[in-house]
């Protein structure tokens, strides 16, 4: 079975993001970029499935500027076998990504797609679900456990109030939650091996997909600054303030 793992290049989670002065987005120039952490978990899960003999090949896909090849290399260093870069300078929204992935699925015929439940930049939490709908495949989102049994994927999902276990007919889409696994660090020998693994570069037109955005971004703004709290002298004063000023009780 082939596993497809889409990986997104995002601003590193340690970076304090800054909004561009014209409100058109966040600053990415000269900012450290990394693989979306949920996608790292997806790569790790795929590599574990291959190590268990469940999967035979792992294909990492990234989309966007040429620098996305670096993100693919990271996946290759973690253990993916080859990469596909869909190169475009168009700003990609979830629907476009899902359509592009659908076209890649048609070429590659994976038995399983493991992907992040969301990207930490736009927090859309949409691509996996859209792709499942476009393909007509089963989906197990927010996975905290994944077991392949025959032609089914048994997925434990983190939902409000507890865990839910679903059985999906393969091929299927699984989106990863934080507790699914702890991704490995790429070792130096694997970083070196990753240099020699192939990355195929294609363009959206090659896949017959128009990736133009359907949503218009109106503005991006910083959240309001937190103002200093107030100190109260007694419980009575606190209760009074909660009633009259905050109006929460």
């Amino acid at each position: 079975m082939k596993i497809l793992v889409p990986v997104k290049r995002v601003v590193d989670y340690n970076v304090k993001v800054r909004v561009k002065s014209d409100g058109s987005g966040v600053e990415t120039q000269g900012v450290k970029m990394s693989m979306n952490p949920f996608d790292e978990i997806a790569v790790e899960e795929a590599v574990r499935l291959r190590e268990k003999g469940v999967a035979t090949e792992i294909i990492a896909v990234s989309m966007g500027l040429p620098a996305c090849a670096e993100t693919i290399r990271t996946a290759l260093a973690m253990g993916a076998d080859r990469g596909i870069l869909v190169e475009t300078d168009v700003e990609l929204q979830p629907l476009a990504v899902a359509k592009l992935l659908k076209a890649i699925v048609a070429k590659e015929n994976p038995g399983l797609i493991v992907m992040g439940k969301q990207a930490i930049d736009d927090d859309m939490n949409a691509t996996g679900q859209m792709l499942a709908a476009l393909l007509g495949w089963s989906q197990g989102t927010f996975a905290s456990k994944l077991v392949i049994e025959g032609d089914h994927a048994i997925v434990t999902r983190e939902v409000d109030g507890g865990l839910e276990t679903v059985s999906l007919q393969l091929p299927a889409i699984v989106t990863t939650d934080l507790r699914l696994n702890e991704p490995r660090y790429a070792s130096l020998p694997n970083i070196m091996k990753a240099r020699k693994k192939p990355i195929e570069t294609i363009r959206p037109a090659d896949l017959g997909v128009d990736p133009a955005p359907r949503l218009t971004l109106v503005t991006v703004a910083e959240p309001p600054k937190r103002v200093a709290g107030v100190k109260v002298k007694s419980v009575a004063e606190l209760v009074a303030k909660l009633k009259t000023e905050a109006k929460v009780i």
């Binding site: 670096e70 290399r73 660090y185 070792s187 130096l188 020998p189 970083i191 070196m192 990753a194």
Partner: protein
């Protein structure tokens, strides 16, 4: 000219930082306080294959250059562990150089593989109490016997001697007075650190206490023929080959330490409010920190230039020395400034900068002092009469 790290070097930087991120301030504080060799960190680096970065592929290494080792060591010292993080693994980067170049295929397999795999540690026995920087005046003597050598002598400052399995040992096999040139008559060995014959006494020192340094007493140690590196009498030349890479690496390690100190100082300057505003809003606080940044950057690119020259087969003595000089000063000035920026808290262990400060001065002393660097540059670059 391309003044930036390539994709692989960026991956190395990121890979090392990920491993190091598992070891936090508390870990390094405990190692420092309890004189505990950072074995867990060492093991993690070994498991990631990092100890073999410059070692040949036939012994399990990655065969990369000094430039990549610079990227690695810079990342390692910038990630909380400071110079202790460097010294715990430093010897793996350049120490076996003489073996790589002059060892037999059998020696390489026997010695380098366990080093790369993290199964054996080695220490570097060059400095002696009565020779100091004047290396050709060492007294440790190896006398020929039938099957090998009998070694007697003393070494000084030998780092990691408490935990090492092996010692790289520079000896005299012909007394200096009987040699045509002072650099003749020296022989290099790599042999078991046999604690029945070698006493290793820890030196109490200012800092970098996670990694020991020792006075070493060698009493009639037998060294078999097969533990000699290369030819008898050529040891000094073999050691010389590894000195430039070592200086370049020490420079990188010092700069990483400086970066960590500067990061901590900048964070503190932004947070600490005195007289109703963050102290970093005062130019008296922010300008010295900005100056430290310029020094670290200058030293970093000097170091990269030296590494590039070495990897491209150019002679780089002046550049390697200059890099180590600039880096040591930049690290020391930055660590000092980091303590000063923290005020009283700079003196408290909790804020880590006093640990970095105590370590930073070492980069100005070892493996070669500033005076000797300047003497070398004055002589070799500026054509002044030799002063030492």
């Amino acid at each position: 000219m391309d003044f930036q790290l390539n994709e692989q070097q960026l991956a190395i930087d990121e890979g090392v930082r990920k491993v190091c991120a598992q070891f936090d301030d508390q870990y390094w504080t405990d190692c420092e306080t309890n004189l505990h060799f950072p074995q867990e960190y060492y093991q993690a680096m070994a498991e990631g294959g990092w100890l073999g970065i410059t070692m040949p592929e036939e012994v399990g290494g990655s065969g990369l250059g000094v430039t990549e080792a610079v990227v690695m060591m810079h990342a390692a010292t910038a990630s909380n562990g400071g110079y202790s993080a460097a010294s715990a693994i430093h010897i793996n980067m350049f120490g076996p150089h003489a073996i790589v170049v002059h060892g037999t295929p059998e020696q390489k397999q026997r010695w380098l593989r366990p080093l790369v795999e993290g199964k054996q540690k080695a220490c570097f026995g060059v400095t002696e109490p009565d020779a100091g920087l004047d290396t050709t005046s060492i007294k440790t003597f190896a006398t020929r016997t039938n099957a090998g050598y009998q070694v007697k002598g003393r070494k000084m400052w030998t780092s990691t001697g408490q935990v090492a399995d092996k010692i790289l040992l520079l000896t005299r096999t012909t007394a200096k007075k009987d040699c045509k040139r002072p650099t003749d008559g020296m022989t290099l060995f790599y042999t078991d650190l046999d604690r029945n014959k070698i006493e290793v006494r820890r030196i109490h020192k200012m800092g970098r206490n996670a990694v020991d340094s020792n006075a070493v007493f060698i009493d009639d140690l037998f060294v078999p023929e097969e533990d000699r590196i290369g030819e008898e009498g050529q040891g000094f030349k073999y050691i010389l080959d590894s000195l430039n890479p070592e200086r370049i690496l020490v420079a990188a390690e010092a700069i990483g330490l400086g970066r960590d100190a500067l990061r901590r100082a900048s964070a503190y300057a932004k947070e600490r409010v005195v007289f109703g505003r963050p102290i970093g809003q005062n130019q008296g606080i922010q300008h010295p920190l900005a100056e430290c940044w310029t020094q670290l950057e200058a030293a970093y690119w000097m170091t990269m230039r030296a590494a590039w020259m070495y990897d491209n087969g150019q002679s780089c003595g002046a550049e390697a020395n200059a890099a180590k000089f600039l880096a040591g000063r930049a690290a020391f000035d930055t660590a000092t400034r980091a303590v000063m920026t923290h005020g009283g808290m700079g003196y408290a262990r909790e804020y880590q900068v006093e640990r970095l400060f105590r370590e930073a001065i070492l980069t100005r002393i070892a493996p070669v002092t500033e005076q000797l660097i300047l003497s070398f540059i004055a002589e070799r670059v500026l054509g002044q009469p030799k002063s030492y």
